[in-house]
Amino acid sequence: MTATSTHRRDSVALGAAVGLVAITFGVLASTAGLSLAKAMAMSLLVFTGASQFAAVGVISSGGSPVSAVAGALLLAARNSLYGMRLSERLARHGWKRIPGAHWVIDETTAMSVAQDDDVAATEAFWWTGAALFTFWNLGTAVGVLVGDAIGDPEIYGLDAAFPASFVALLGPHLSTAPGRVAGLIGASIAIVAVPFTPAGAPILLAALAIIPALLMPAAIETTDPAGSPAEGTA
């Protein structure tokens, strides 16, 4: 199996898993009183899962639309950071990066940056984006329309699909010392921040883990055009 067919297959698989999660969103949106049109508008136009879940969660628990939107936007802010990471690859597509930006989310970034070369990375972004957009919207519709018949999605362990997919895509990042430092400290900051900050803030604070990671000596090696082999540990 070639690298190309692997990342295409993985994109579709990730899309399918996320589509199942979207069914959960459809059910929750329906419970929160959103019509099919409104739930679909969320998935088509907002298209960033964590924000959508947060927004309908606030509405469900009786919160105001203002706090629902504010909380959801806090969660959406991280997509700016992903956009910066993907910008160079997307820039090659000229004007297509303007609509393409709509697909800049956790999953497309993870799948793209996990690839070895630029061609595969760019293709992985578009494939994952297309697969997720399709399945996310299909799943939302299914959740709103027939959600009650499915029962509690947690029974199927669906909530484990998202973290598991990111674990599977972490490998390349953890192969360098700065990557490991960024990951370890990012996870630690997020966990410590949970009880003290509103939803969405822990993930943004985790970005501060970049600072200690930059101090690692191997971080300098990655910019070396000669590509000297990285020493396992610094």
């Binding site: 969320m42 991280r78 930006a101 910019t223």
Partner: protein
């Protein structure tokens, strides 16, 4: 949730994404470029632990932790991508049945 709220959220979400994509190409300083390249490991590791241990604004240890453990082992044993997801889901579902 009103149409106004949904459209404001949609515009804001797309605004964040597009801003990153447009600003990113202007980042040329090597230190900033290295910073940007370290965003994925920092945020993805944070996402993994948040999705596993966060419940509203509390930390909990439940069946999701079993799924994470299985995903880590499967990934370390070089199980293909789809297999990691399916095993983690199955382990979490099983842990819920037992619990």
């Amino acid at each position: 949730m009103s149409w106004t709220a949904i459209l404001v959220l949609a515009a804001g979400a797309y605004g964040f994404k597009l801003a990153g994509v447009l600003v990113g190409t202007r980042i040329e300083h090597p230190l900033l470029r290295r910073s940007v390249s370290l965003i994925p490991p920092a945020l993805f590791c944070a996402l993994i632990v948040l999705q596993t241990f966060e419940s509203d604004t509390d930390l909990v240890l439940d069946a999701r932790a079993v799924g994470l453990l299985v995903a880590l082992v499967a990934s370390w044993r070089k199980v293909p991508f789809v297999g990691v997801i399916v095993l983690a889901m199955a382990a979490t579902a099983l842990a819920r049945v037992i619990a």
